[in-house]
Amino acid sequence: MNVHFNKRDPVYVQVIRHFKEQIATGVFEPGQEIPSRRELAGRLKINPNTAQRAYKEMEEAGLIYTERNLPSRITKDEKVLRAVREELIDEAVDAFVHSIRSINVSADDVLDRVKEKFETDKDTRGYGND
């Protein structure tokens, strides 16, 4: 778990984003146990208070849940999981659109290129995911 944080966004926000990415990409599976906040702080080299805040926000957002004294887990709620995925896709598309728009290119042209790229890239991506 090696994350590079930027210095201007709140660290806890970056932590949540990191978790969402992991969920969306399936690294964290639904119901999977997650590290304690102390462990997380240690692994990410962040302040335990920040880790605490990130967990608190995630819990409120329903991304993770805690049962009594047991360690926290990733939510099993499909709706939430889907929403996280959607959110990330939306975000990425937004970012893509935002940057591609400045080049002044037509949507069809872009979409063709995207499809083409997707096909050629598939193998390497899949390989990397394993």
């Binding site: 210095k7 201007r8 709140p10 702080a41 962040i46 302040n47 335990p48 208070n49 920040t50």
Partner: protein
């Protein structure tokens, strides 16, 4: 909570602190930032009553420092405060002799963490290892507050990483930490609160996460803003 209230201090005719106020909470890491010679060390010394203040007041959990406070608050200066002729074991023995709050288990754990042997003489340790032992002697005390003066200065990269790791561990968890530095890059993500000091006064005191969240500024951004006015 450590409350520093309008502390003034001069050495001879030089006013080192011209009315410094800030607070440091338990469970938070407060970082006093400023270039060398602005009185960061002096603040820590005054908190520990290692130098008299000319005016102002310092309270630790609401009370003035007294002999019992030293079981509750400890100070890790920038150089080790043990006799160079001692071995690490003797240094730990000394701490165990005089502090009720000394936690030998934790000291042993730290020794393992730092990969140091207790038979070694302090005199023969490298700079980095000496800094680690210095840290160890403070961290192994079960105290509520930890004051550290420039823990990263003049130490090799790997030692710095090890020391930085300490801050994210249970060793400082739930404690109040005041740390001084002139260089924050190693610990930027670790600190809860920054106190920017210059010329004997506090220029700005802020919560770092809040600053990122509400103004989108990093500590360095704020420093740039404040110091270059």
């Amino acid at each position: 909570m450590i409350e520093v209230k309008d502390v003034k201090k001069k050495f001879g005719r030089k006013h080192v602190l011209k009315g410094v106020s800030f607070t440091a909470n338990k469970g938070e890491i407060t970082c006093v930032i400023g270039i060398n010679g602005v009185g960061k060390t002096t603040i820590l010394n005054t908190i520990m009553n290692l130098t008299p203040l000319n005016s102002g007041q310092i309270l630790i959990d609401g009370e003035k420092i007294n002999k019992h406070s030293y079981e509750k608050i400890t100070f890790i200066p920038d150089a080790i405060t043990m006799l160079p002729s001692m071995t690490i074991r003797e240094a730990m023995q000394f701490m165990d002799d005089f502090y009720d709050s000394w936690n030998q288990e934790r000291a042993t754990e730290l020794l393992g963490f730092f990969k140091l042997k207790e038979t070694e003489k302090i005199n023969n340790l490298s700079k980095g290892n000496r800094a680690k032992i210095n840290l160890l002697l403070g961290l192994a005390l079960d105290v509520d507050y930890l004051l550290m003066d420039e823990p990263f200065s003049g130490i090799d990269m790997f030692s710095r990483e090890q020391i930085a790791d300490v801050f994210t561990s249970h060793l400082v968890e739930d404690r109040g930490v005041i740390i001084t530095t002139h260089e924050i890059s190693d610990i930027e993500h670790l600190i809860d609160k920054s106190v920017l000091l210059d010329n004997g006064v506090v220029l700005k005191e802020f919560n770092t996460e809040d600053m990122r969240e509400t103004e989108g500024k990093s500590i360095v951004d704020v420093m740039r803003e404040v110091y270059q006015q």
